[in-house]
């Protein structure tokens, strides 16, 4: 044979899994929540989503061009970040805020730390918290054409009563993508069935949070209160779409349970004892910071216990 063939180290076959496919599936899984958000809040929500997503992708593109690095927008991770950020914004914020948040998420939280895989906290949530601290009143103003009252969780915190069915379906005030538990669960099922996420983190998170609320919520085992806590705020969106973010959660199996417990407790503390009715975003970014430590202490035992010398 004249032509010499390429050689490579084993294995010589690879599965079809690819980063771009995973990210695209996440986008797809977010579509029910996105669609419902647009239905619920109107075209203004669509516009905000568009601005945020485009800003996120453009920031990554420009940064990489300026730094003369390979352009990685083809992996769709910036789209996921932009979309998640938009879903975490109230519909009434000005468009420039969406763009600013997206730039912060991609530039500061992601690219400056080394790009995909290197960010220490979830970029979308990092940006949301940045906006929350910088523009508190705009970010917590949920009044819009469709809804004029406070969010159900805020009502609950003041001791009022809420309509659970509306909360489950999503016909309440809130950020664009968080209101409909139903739409989020449909998306979560897509992620679960395609094997992109498993129930370790969301399951532990939600169970821990419920236990915390039962113990410290002051309502005991009150189904109405518990389901309102479950369906309200960003818990569902956070548990299934953001706490499960690969880059910022512990990679070890045992670590993921610990992480879920930390998330549940922090969310409980913030919601019940904090000044705001919401606490998922802060709980997740704080737990993100704990992830490396959690990983360190939960490394798996190698097969055959490993390590010891003959």
């Amino acid at each position: 044979m004249n032509k010499l063939l390429k050689v490579s180290s084993n294995p010589h076959i690879r599965s079809g899994a690819a980063t771009g496919n995973i990210m695209l599936t996440v986008v797809f899984a977010l579509l029910p929540a996105t669609g419902f958000g647009i239905y619920n809040f109107g075209m203004r929500a669509f516009l905000l989503i568009l601005v945020t997503v485009i800003s996120a992708v453009l920031t990554e593109y420009l940064y990489e061009k300026l730094c003369k690095r390979p352009v990685t927008i083809g992996d769709f991770s910036a789209v996921v970040t932009g979309l998640l950020l938009a879903l975490n914004l109230p519909v009434s914020v000005p468009l420039w805020m969406g763009a600013l948040g997206a730039v912060f998420a991609i530039l500061v939280v992601k690219m400056l730390f080394g790009g995909l895989g290197q960010n220490f906290m979830n970029p979308a949530l990092g940006a949301r918290c940045f906006l929350l601290i910088s523009f508190t009143s705009l970010m917590t103003d949920f009044e819009c054409d469709a809804y004029t009252g406070p969010t159900p969780l805020a009502v609950l915190k003041e001791g009022g009563s809420v309509n659970i069915l509306d909360m489950f379906l999503g016909k309440t005030a809130g950020t664009i993508g968080e209101t409909s538990m139903l739409a989020i669960l449909i998306g979560a099922c897509i992620l679960l069935f395609t094997g992109i996420i498993d129930l370790r983190i969301p399951g532990t998170y939600i169970v821990t949070f419920l236990l915390f609320v039962v113990l410290f919520g002051g309502h005991g085992v009150d189904p109405a209160f518990l389901s309102a806590q479950l369906a309200g705020g960003g818990l569902m969106l956070g548990a299934f779409f953001m706490a499960t973010d690969y880059v910022t959660r512990p990679v070890t199996k045992r670590g993921q349970y610990v992480y879920g417990v930390a998330l549940g407790m922090l969310t409980g503390i913030f919601r019940l004892f904090g000044p705001s009715a919401e606490g998922v975003s802060y709980a997740i970014i704080i737990s993100n910071l704990l992830a490396p430590l959690i990983e360190k202490v939960t490394l798996p035992k190698a097969f055959g216990k490993g390590g010891e010398k003959r």
Binding site: V7, N10, P11, H12, T19
Partner: protein, 438 residues
């Protein structure tokens, strides 16, 4: 306790249908035969013939040159043409004996054993050693050493590795279907060495016909049982196999004997039978020639030393242009750039693929997805271990149990970022092992 499986692993496309239903064809070599002096783990054999000598089929041409070493036999009759360096499948050049085949296949006389009972244990081990038998599943570790552990009375399992978990390979499958008696007879020979042991034929359950056949043939054997293991790569990895059969887990620094086990693969056990009962040295093996580029994929019973070119011709040549040629299976085989290399004792397959997955895929950033952690049978964190290896961070590499990697390739296979995890870990392991030896 038998678990019949292990934690981790993958289910790649197995490609076995290409070759599994065609009977094994015997191939007599036409061209020169090349016998690399190093086709086993340990010291290279040292030649006992010289250029111009006439040799017979079954004649010893190189002897073991240390404790961990193995002799090599001529597999045809002919003349020693040269003793020189030749390229082997790994890409290295290895000192080899080249025999010009005279096409007569004149054989030496073999000394048959009267009966298994008449043989002493030491005699059996000596025969296995003299026959040059090494682990034919790929490792190439001299078999007589495996068969003589420090405390033979503590061995309670003799396992025959019939898993054949590597995709595309069907040589063990054909062997089990075509000569199950020899396999069982070989197992009986090994069981003779270990009084307290029971023999287990461990087959993956994607070969139900083998399980059935072997069960039937061993139903009156009180010491032999057949276990159907769950089909999953790498079920045939030694430590995973021991776990699946016995529930005992050992780490990389231990030997199967530490778990009371002796493990050998199908071809090796058949070779033991031929060596001990028929007095024949290791000269033949079954090689699967397959892949979507091959015209007539099937198994061949070959004389060791035959050129891969000849095997491919026997399989009808290429029907499509191959992009990748692999000696062995797709998960653990060696990519070769040219077919002009000899088959050795450990050559299990020639796989010719029209697609080269690896060179098409560009490694990108790790997204920490954890798929490698899920599939790693060694239960380490390949993404972190590989990063440590890439940074040449020896301390972290060792701390993260990098040495526990069995190089099965599952992590690279599943990685969505197409990182070359196995390769990085493997390179570092090699360095560390070399350091230890010093």
């Amino acid at each position: 306790m038998a678990r019949l499986t292990f934690v981790g692993g993958i289910h790649p496309y197995d490609g076995k249908d290409l070759s599994k239903d065609k009977p094994t064809k015997e191939v007599l070599p036409k061209g020169d035969l090349v016998y690399p002096l190093s086709q086993h783990i340990g010291a290279p054999a040292s030649p006992i013939v010289k250029k111009g000598d006439r040799v017979l089929t079954g004649q010893k041409i190189a002897e073991a040159s240390g404790f961990v070493s193995a002799p090599i036999y001529a597999t045809v009759s002919g003349t020693v043409k040269a003793i020189e360096e030749r390229r082997v499948v790994t890409g290295d050049k290895v000192m080899s004996i080249i025999v010009e085949n005279d096409g007569l296949y004149e054989e030496v006389e073999y000394q048959k054993a009267e009966s298994l009972e008449s043989l002493k244990k030491e005699e059996i081990i000596e025969k296995v050693k003299e026959a040059g038998i090494v682990g034919m599943g790929g490792a190439g570790f001299p078999t007589f050493i495996k068969l003589s552990p420090k405390e033979p009375e503590k061995i309670d399992y003799v396992i025959v590795n019939c898993a054949e978990c590597e995709p595309y390979l069907t040589s063990d499958y054909r062997r089990m279907l075509e000569e199950p008696e020899n396999l069982i007879a070989g197992l009986k020979v090994i069981l003779r060495l270990f009084d307290k042991a029971r023999g287990v034929l461990a087959v993956e359950d994607n070969k139900p016909d083998c399980v059935e056949l072997l069960k039937n043939l061993t139903k009156d054997e009180s010491r032999i049982s057949v276990k159907a293991l769950k089909t999953k790569y790498p079920q045939g990895s030694e430590r995973q196999l021991i776990f699946a059969v016995t529930g005992r887990a050992i780490n990389s620094s231990k030997l199967p004997a530490d778990a009371g086990c002796v493990v050998n693969n199908v071809d090796t056990v058949v070779a033991v039978y031929h060596a001990v009962m028929e007095g024949k040295p290791l000269m033949e093996r079954i090689v699967t020639v397959t892949g979507d580029a091959v015209a007539d994929p099937r198994n061949f019973k070959i004389r060791i030393g035959t050129n891969y070119h000849e095997l491919l011709e026997e399989a009808g040549g290429f029907k499509k242009e191959p992009e990748k040629i692999i000696s062995g299976g797709p998960m653990m085989g060696f990519g070769i750039f040219d077919l002009d290399v000899p088959t050795t004792k450990t050559a299990s397959a020639l796989l010719c693929l029209t697609h080269d997955d690896v060179s098409k895929m560009q490694p990108t950033a790790c997204i920490n997805c954890g798929r490698c952690v899920e599939v790693c049978p060694g239960r380490i964190v390949p993404s972190k271990v590989a990063t440590a290896a890439e940074h040449y961070d020896e301390e972290t590499f060792i701390k993260l149990n990098g040495m526990e990697c069995c190089e099965c390739g599952c992590c690279s296979y599943v990685c969505p970022a197409k990182r070359t995890l196995t390769q990085s870990i493997k390179s570092m392991r090699k360095l560390q092992l070399a350091k230890k030896k010093k």
